[in-house]
Symmetry: C2
Subunit: 316 residues, 2 copies
Amino acid sequence: MHTEPNRVCDLLGIRYPIIQAGMVWCSGWKLAAAAANAGALGLIGSASMYPDVLREHIRKCQKATDRPFGVNVALLYPEIDKLMEIITGEGVKIVFTSAGNPATWTAFLKERGVTVVHVVSSSKFARKAADAGVDGVVAEGFEAGGHNGREETTTMCLVPMVCDAVSIPVIAAGGIGTGKSMCAAFALGAEGVQVGSRFVMSEESSAHANFKQAVADAKEGDTLLTLKKLTPVRLIRNRFFDQVREAQDRGASVDELKALLGRARAKQGMFEGDLDEGELEIGQVSGALAEVKSAADIVREIWEEFEMTRKRLGEG
Amino acid sequence: MHTEPNRVCDLLGIRYPIIQAGMVWCSGWKLAAAAANAGALGLIGSASMYPDVLREHIRKCQKATDRPFGVNVALLYPEIDKLMEIITGEGVKIVFTSAGNPATWTAFLKERGVTVVHVVSSSKFARKAADAGVDGVVAEGFEAGGHNGREETTTMCLVPMVCDAVSIPVIAAGGIGTGKSMCAAFALGAEGVQVGSRFVMSEESSAHANFKQAVADAKEGDTLLTLKKLTPVRLIRNRFFDQVREAQDRGASVDELKALLGRARAKQGMFEGDLDEGELEIGQVSGALAEVKSAADIVREIWEEFEMTRKRLGEG
């Protein structure tokens, strides 16, 4: 065990300072409960759920674990008020917010006894989140899968700057899927890590088998950040990606890109397994992922390697 | 002192496994000698030098230090054969190669008793370099300043993959300017670090005072990787950058971009201090750099923070 007091463990009531990221189409109650039961924080990703679906996932997760779990909420979600009513009404005690202004909902959640962590891509946004009263921030670098900041700051550069900017606990995200990279994040000043891509490759994730195979096959350079004129997103290069690139290279307008993106591309790719026409959101660390394992094995392996790495460095 | 044997120190005959990067227009003999005298490896950046100018820098560096130093060579340099004759003729014992095929010159250098390290942006290129017989590789991530790989893989993701791919020593580069980030690189498996941007901000660097001020003023998100249709390069956003972006957004051809880039933009920006029309190559870590210090202070601060950080982790 980590013997030093850890503010992320204390804040969230978890054994290991590892957060299983809330991810569209990949992290329902099964994954969140499995991660929680393994001693990490499990997060249900609500951005791909209708409000009633989220309620069902929360209730199933509560039955499947006695450990703390939370919900990740994209603040730009259209029916955000319904989502927030369900989350607080069902007694969820931890919410990770992202993609929006933390000032809007933090007070509402805090008044209802919810611990709030906000995801940021810059130290400027970290300061704003701290000012809004959040309990911690996730500093997410350019290498992370899915939606991403416009600054393109990598985890190696972002984490120290965010740690300098705020005094609340900083959780590092982006490029972290092993105990070595977790230890690197701690060297940079983080007190916890949020892991996404590696949990996409868990038995309990709801990612389609085709998508898991595509992640296993992905090599370095196979993901790129694209759609920067809309919202930047990191995904695996496939036919859909090539269409986007072709359109961007000839200077396509925002409207044309929106039409090309259309609706439900993410579901089509990650949940339904259409590897050609779907959107396949995953981090750069996919280049090093090959196997599907249980969430419990993933948590254990990350923690054991973290402990080994920090001891190796200490003895150096 | 690091008590563990370190292959990078052994290979290069240096005290600390810190390499001062060879950089166009910023790292002549003064910086290389100062870094060498401080116990790091100093590198003369030859890509911005005519062959005769390089000879002069090598000779001055030899007079200014008894410690090992090297020359960084971009393998796409037009008169590369002249450069290589001068380097070996003048008795330089360490060459870092980049931007080209390591198979072309490695044997020539090794036969003349030169230690060769090649800079790579992927584990595929690392394997090729190892096959070509180089003694070590620099794994340089997306956050690094100047020319950069097309894969856009960040240091956090790249270093572990390169360490898995080759058995020769791996030196991490990109986003590393402090002892904390050096320790993060070691957690990822690197045995040394190459530091660029922070040495641009040294008293001994030949960067123009205006450029140093621009680096001090740079905030997160102020550098971006651009000119991806030609050779991707990371630089500070200025008027020149905006012209490039505008051209790219409307789908400009490669020829048009080449004409826009023109000649001597890098010299104009970094050496002559034209902050509007010049090319200002620097890494993302510039967002955290504010002060100009001596190379000796930079080496000492990085090393002391590295030692402190690894001890903190070990005791965790």
